[in-house]
Subunit: 104 residues, 2 copies
């Protein structure tokens, strides 16, 4: 049977993208600047990861205004929720195999 | 407070390297061919990931013979166990924040 890490997808598993999906999944939508601050990513780096997730259909970007200020919101798609669920399930199995801690 | 994914290290978190460390941590040492089969990696790809882990001091490679056949064993170091423990702790926190499943 494939090792749990064999069921992880690089698109989702990359640590910044995993953070983006996890945070986006906690709300109906999440604002770009919030992600930039919480994940401590540069705007350029965040944009690159958002492009990978959007290309994979795991998020959509909504453009709008807050007053006169342009804003971008990130919305996780159903496909994104399913991909995050598969990732968390595989990680849970990895952790279970390890009893939560490395073997002393 | 940094998001849990902000405490992950790319050296450890990359899915194949995470698999190598997790398996290596389950035994005193693990044989190259076993890893190659269980993780379904090509020998070249496995060698590249082992080099990254060895360079980071998280594993050491032991060369020997099984009869006349040359063998390579992978041994996780104390630093490797500590790095794996930090990774699993951060992943556990991520999963806990998510109640084990994405929010419906």
């Amino acid at each position: 049977m494939t090792h749990p890490t064999g069921r992880l997808s690089d698109v989702v598993h990359q640590r910044h993208r995993l953070g983006i999906l996890a945070i986006a999944d906690e709300a109906a939508r999440v604002e770009f600047t919030y992600l930039h601050e919480v994940l401590e990513l540069t705007r350029g780096n965040l944009n690159r990861h958002l492009a990978v997730l959007e290309e994979a259909g795991l998020i959509v970007l909504e453009k709008g205004y807050d007053g006169r200020r342009p804003k971008t919101w990130i919305v996780i798609t159903d496909e994104g929720r399913a991909a995050l669920s598969a990732e968390l399930t595989a990680l849970e199995e990895l952790i279970r195999r390890h009893g939560g801690r490395p073997h002393r």
